[in-house]
């Protein structure tokens, strides 16, 4: 039986563009939040084009700037396989900054790691 948490508020569902991790352990932008809005990740889809397994981390900030903060547990993506994680398995972490993603193993296409998320976005106090 699936046990679902009952959210006390409602947001709007949106999808990110497909992020492409091409450098190992280096974050790239995943989803840009409109000003003053927040969001919760509801679905994650990963495809590992690389020849080796990789660990994918979603967070905020930039690895290059030393500001990357992992916000969700990492996922293990087998080489040549896709991985879908739905909201039952995703903690209800509220993002207040733009989402970024990094993969422990990655290379330029066609050996990149593709990541896309579906998020539930909440309204903020400004337009």
């Amino acid at each position: 039986m699936t046990v679902r948490a009952i959210e006390y508020r409602k947001g709007i569902r949106k999808s990110s563009p497909i992020a492409s991790c091409t450098v190992a352990a280096t974050s790239v932008g995943l989803y840009t939040l409109p000003t003053a809005r927040t969001c919760v990740v509801r679905k994650v889809v990963i495809f590992n084009n690389n020849a080796a397994p990789t660990i994918v981390q979603i967070g905020t900030g930039s690895t290059a700037l030393g500001t990357f903060v992992q916000q969700l547990p990492a996922w293990y993506a087998v080489n040549g396989q896709d991985l879908e994680i739905t909201e039952d398995q995703i903690p209800n972490v509220e993002f207040t900054a733009n989402l970024t993603v990094q993969a422990s193993v990655a290379a330029v296409a066609p050996n990149n790691i593709q990541v896309q998320v579906e998020i539930e976005e909440y309204q903020g106090p400004t337009a």
Binding site: K10, I12, K14, T32, P34, T35, R37
Partner: protein, 202 residues
């Protein structure tokens, strides 16, 4: 005065009166009493979707005139609710210099979140007497450009008349009676449903 149905009623949209009943259109300082001669539905569909067009990230588009989509004939009243199809913030101006849905400090918007707490859209309800059209001030709140900015309208059309029926198509409706205040209207003993028409807000 009818207590039910009325304007801004929660739940799925319905006409605010039956054919043959009276509407009291409440303006800023004038009240005009009409009898409804005919009612027609305007279902939510593409001809009544206003597309303000592409809006660059974070930008507010120039005020959009809805005249080609929402204008009513003379002698008619439009009754509309709305919802957005894109993630935009829509401020409804009716008339152009007056923002609807406001208080002393703020003007509320119709946006993607409105329908979450108001699924029936009754808080987006507006009335258009003849060509007292709304203008839309639409903002793209995202960090990326939008190719289109759409807001859909749906509701009812009321053909207005008096004891002698509706006038010919395109003719101004002649009210049964006009009043200078609600108190005067109440003293008249007519039965009616009050409809606040746009432009009253200050």
């Amino acid at each position: 005065m009818y207590s039910y149905p009325r304007a801004f009623r929660g739940g799925l949209i319905e006409p605010v009166v039956e054919v043959g009943q009276n509407l009291l259109l409440a303006g800023r300082a004038q009240y005009a009493l009409y009898q409804v001669s005919y009612i027609e539905e305007i279902p939510a569909s593409f001809p009544f979707i206003v597309n303000v067009g592409a809006i660059v990230a974070g930008v507010t588009a120039p005020n959009f005139n809805t005249n080609n989509i929402l204008d009513m004939e003379y002698g008619q009243l439009g009754h509309f609710r709305s919802f957005v199809l894109d993630d935009i913030n829509v401020m409804i101006l009716q008339p152009l210099a007056t923002a609807r849905f406001g208080n002393k400090s703020m003007q509320a918007r119709v946006n993607a979140f409105t329908a979450l707490l108001d699924p029936c859209g009754h808080q987006t309800e507006i009335f258009l007497f003849e060509d007292d059209r709304p203008y839309l001030q639409v903002t793209n709140p995202q960090g990326y450009n939008l190719a289109q900015a759409r807001i859909a309208f749906y509701g009812f059309k009321y053909v207005l008349g008096n004891e002698n029926g509706a006038g010919p198509t395109g003719a101004k409706a002649i009210p049964i009676k006009e009043f200078g205040s609600m108190a005067e209207a109440e003293r008249s003993q007519y039965k009616y449903t009050v409809i606040p028409i746009g432009g009253w807000g200050r």
